[in-house]
Subunit: 233 residues, 2 copies
């Protein structure tokens, strides 16, 4: 990889414990060119334990990081405590003031919402959490990538690759996006039809909903409380 | 995420500096269920600097890790020195002896090849390195996921998601794979046609080939040398 360009955009990616790595890595690997200077942000410079086998190292702290050009928030089960992490939410709100693009993938949009950034905005999230966006004042949209002005949100987990390409095309043009698409050989070929509530078999959707029910119940409660107490909804 | 099951398969994922994160995370996030106990392997327990902004922490060392059920090797620019890392290659060869599945994504297959594991096997890799597989005794196949007995290889970078679903279906059945596909909302929708040499516009392919030429030249030289000196080809 060549050196970062002098006019590179600053990309600030928010970390938190128990985030889903693919939410973060899809966009990271699409944006990881000399056109971007990417930082991984957390309260302190210490390993952050995320979903699965990984602990990842931040490169900058919330306190020391000036608002980026692109603010990005991933999702994952840890989004729930992150919504109540006051310093994290304050950083997201502050960074968004100076950012050219305010973005998320998966339930990262619930964190944007908790920071009051989605009021009246069209936005998306993981299919199982779409209803919770409305509790934070957003207009939920069941699409893979949703753009409302400078707020760009992606659907669940793997949509981060599509999100990254949409953002790249918007900033640097279609040829830049298509070149990255070839570099990461993104001509997807899922072995099965499915992957969304619209395309998956009903029994697969029912299985996933049942498995996620306890988490979804907590997400609804948290979004309801934050919407009422902090956002005046 | 529930606790790992007592009969979980052991998944050993090889790390090396300058690997491509999406090569690793696609399969990791698909396999990250209670059915698997995933470890990240390196010479020492110390942060490994990978492509982009990340340093990642291994969970076990080559010396202390018994052959896994599933051996997995990602790719990325760092595959080149990894092919000449004698202790890493010796570990891969040794682990493969006891593994039920020997697997890779992207140029990870060149590392499998350098360990002598692809002789006479049908295999794939990143599109720009496909010719190099033959230098290591493999039969290059231009497909997204290639299975030859217990050797399963994926094409470039983002193919790791498809690879993970194919492997999941093979081991635990189609319903398991389809459920994960919905969990990660993998109903891909690339904003552009492309992503492979067959589907990308010719000028996009030419741009990428020119950009990768210096790296590809080194990869050909390394694969040729290892094929001759170590594999007797």
């Amino acid at each position: 990889m060549a050196e970062t360009q002098p006019d590179a955009l600053r990309v600030g990616m928010v970390l938190f414990p128990n985030l889903t790595m693919l939410d973060l890595i899809g966009p990271h690997d699409v944006l990881n060119t000399p056109r971007c200077k990417i930082d991984l942000l957390w309260h302190r410079i210490e390993p952050v334990p995320v979903q699965g086998s990984f602990s990842i190292l931040p490169t900058a702290t919330f306190a020391d990081y000036a608002p980026p050009d692109i603010l990005f928030v991933p999702g994952g089960p840890g989004q729930l405590p992150a919504m109540d992490d006051e310093a994290l939410i304050a950083f997201v709100a502050r960074a968004a003031q100076g950012a050219k693009y305010i973005t998320s993938v998966c339930t990262g949009s619930l964190i944007l919402g908790a920071a009051g950034l989605l009021k009246g905005k069209r936005a998306t999230t993981h299919w199982a959490s779409l209803d919770q966006l409305a509790l934070l004042g957003a207009i939920p949209v069941s699409e893979r990538v949703v753009e409302d002005g400078n707020v760009i949100t992606g659907a669940g987990v793997s949509s981060g690759i599509d999100f990254g390409l949409v953002l790249t095309a918007r900033i640097w043009g279609e040829a830049a996006a298509k070149t990255i698409q070839l570099a990461i050989e993104y001509d997807p070929d899922p072995p099965f039809t499915g992957g969304s509530v619209q395309t998956s078999e009903p029994e697969i959707v029912a299985t996933m909903r049942a498995r996620m029910a306890p988490l979804l119940e907590k997400r609804v409660a948290t979004a309801t409380r934050i919407g009422r107490e902090k956002l005046g909804l």
